[in-house]
């Protein structure tokens, strides 16, 4: 991506991340990606998705984790990253606009999805977060914010039985497994 296009893209991503928060101006373009300004497409491979319900949520579980496989997709209008729990038909899917330094998009489930601890979770979230790249070159989202519904249940037919919460203050992360 050219420096000019990259700058325009960062502005686009910043504009998409509003929610009553003043978005800082995009960083100065750099011809060489560095750990502080990763390029799109670095989120790939096996990750643990962690979703934390907002602090005000009255739910039985504070959060839930899932193993997902991420892969970049540059065929759209803007670069993206897709992460799923299974293929060919996932029950949990992330579709994120990948701006390199940050991502933003939807996290959704088709129904109750079993977390790594056995709780079933329903998600309808719009999530955003900064991308960090470690010295090993691995890209992660260490701490992001999310808005929407998080529900917990004891089984696939227990939607909301362990709590339902709609909030703009959920949190999420995507860390290398």
């Amino acid at each position: 991506m050219s420096a000019a296009r990259r700058l325009a893209f960062l502005a686009l991503l910043a504009s998409a991340c509003g929610d009553a928060v003043t978005v800082p101006p995009p960083p100065s373009p750099s011809p060489t990606p560095s750990p502080s300004s990763p390029a799109p497409g670095l989120l790939r491979g096996s990750y643990v998705l962690r979703v934390e319900a907002a602090p005000e949520c009255q739910v039985a579980e504070s959060g839930a984790s899932f193993v997902v496989q991420a892969s970049p997709d540059a065929t759209g209008r803007y670069p993206g990253v897709q992460a799923v729990d299974a293929l060919p038909v996932p029950a949990l899917e992330l579709e994120l606009l990948d701006g390199g330094v940050a991502v933003r998009g939807g996290i959704g489930t088709t129904g109750g999805v079993r977390s790594t601890t056995g709780t079933f979770v329903w998600l309808e979230l719009v999530a955003s977060g900064d991308v960090s790249v470690g010295s090993d070159g691995v890209a992660e989202v260490l701490s992001g914010s999310a808005a929407g519904f998080v529900e917990f249940g004891a089984n696939p037919n227990d939607e909301g039985g362990l709590g339902t919460c709609k909030s703009v203050a959920h949190a999420w992360s995507l860390r290398r497994q």
Partner: protein, 392 residues
């Protein structure tokens, strides 16, 4: 499109059971979701009185159509069924709304608010499970230890303290809850039903007075009593930007953002996935539009989004600049209010929710967030027909 049957249309129903077009034996099979089981029973009985036609009624989730000729459900429960082409959206009928009520023992004073109701509830509060109850469960703000989440009509009806659609409310004191969107009750015929004549007869019956009385008896409010809609004062003029995930772009058929401009004009042209005039946003996609001039905050709703299929949720953001920052106006608003004279449904937004006096640029975002790869249609995500500024 979901038809709004004129309530003055008298039902013309034969006094005898109608033979199936293909001669398939058996009664008309109606499936009603737990939230509306009482309405299903009332409508079955009323239909039986005028038609003497046998009707089999089963209470179950609207997760499939096997064994059913017609579904009665909240529009939010029918999203996957309608969008997936399992039931016919063009001939579906909106019966009306069912409000959410708190239920308290009759000896207690009527709560002045949901907070007052919660404060007066000594122990557990019964509340509806499933998709139809999601917004209510999120709104009540009680820990799961204080909620009895159920889809069992008898269990919910017997609760002393409950937050329920009126159709499920027991004999206690009922108070309508402001701020919770009512259920929108839809009767949707199953495509490929072996009993098309019986289905047609029942849909015709739904336009008559007997059906209206039955619906009112189960707690419903027929559409004729709905508040008169405010008028549109202008429409989106230009697309400033948009994004739909590559997966959704590849699977959806309606990806052109210019379709959201101008007045509502979306149509179903004759079958599953056959539409014109709308843009499907896919999983979490969005479109930014220029309204041509600032939309000003007035008392009540200021912006209307026309959404074509079912009641897929929509999130709205607003800004004075096409590049933002955008402020959230409302998150994941169910978007399925019927629009008389217009094919698409709609939902309204109040700029005051964002604390802003005016905004020229609006960002409309999918709020369904349904996994792209699991989608079975070419219209995944909220389907945006038009974006209107409302007259004060």
């Amino acid at each position: 499109m979901i038809r709004l049957l004129p309530l003055a249309l008298a039902a013309v129903v034969s006094g005898q059971a109608v033979a199936s077009d293909d001669g398939s034996p058996g009664p008309l099979r109606i499936r009603v979701t737990p939230a509306l089981s009482a309405c299903g029973g009332a409508l079955r009985d009323a239909f039986g009185e005028v038609s003497h036609a046998p009707v089999a009624l089963d209470v179950d989730e609207a997760s499939g159509v096997a064994g059913a000729d017609l579904l009665i459900a909240d529009s939010a429960e029918l999203t996957r069924i309608l969008e997936g082409g399992l039931a016919d959206e063009r001939t579906a009928v909106v019966l009306g709304d069912v409000a959410w009520v708190t239920v308290s023992p009759p000896e207690q004073p009527a709560p002045s608010s949901l907070a007052a109701f919660i404060a007066a509830a000594p122990s557990r509060v019964a509340i509806l499970g499933g998709a139809a109850g999601r917004e209510a469960r999120a709104t009540i703000g009680l820990p799961p230890t204080r909620l009895a989440v159920s889809r069992d009509a008898a269990e919910l009806r017997s609760a002393r303290h409950a937050l329920l659609p009126r159709s499920l409310a027991g004999p206690g004191r009922q108070v309508v809850v402001d701020g919770l969107s009512p259920l929108t009750v839809v009767a949707a015929p199953v495509i490929g039903s072996p009993h098309p004549a019986e289905v047609r007869s029942f849909l015709q019956f739904l336009g008559g007075r007997a059906a209206r009385r039955a619906f009112e008896a189960c707690g419903g409010e027929p559409q004729a009593s709905a508040t008169r809609l405010r008028s549109d004062a202008g429409y989106a003029q230009a697309v400033m930007d948009w994004w739909v995930p590559a997966c959704s772009l590849a699977h959806n058929a309606y990806n052109h953002p210019v379709q959201v401009l101008g007045p509502p004009d979306a149509m179903n042209t004759g079958g599953k996935d056959e539409y014109t005039g709308m843009m499907s946003l896919g999983q979490g996609g969005w479109v930014v539009v220029d309204m041509g001039r600032p939309v000003v905050d007035h008392p009540g709703a200021d912006v209307r989004v026309y959404q074509t299929t079912s009641s897929e949720p929509v999130t709205l953001y607003a800004s004075d600049s096409p590049s933002g920052p955008f402020r959230l106006v409302q998150l994941m608003r169910t978007c399925g209010i019927p629009s008389p004279g217009v094919f698409s449904n709609h939902c309204d937004f109040d700029l005051a929710n964002a604390g802003i006096a005016s905004a020229r640029y609006l960002r409309v975002e999918d709020g369904e967030i349904y996994p792209c790869l699991a989608g079975t249609t070419v219209t995944e995500g909220a389907d945006i027909d038009a974006i209107a500024a409302l007259a004060p």
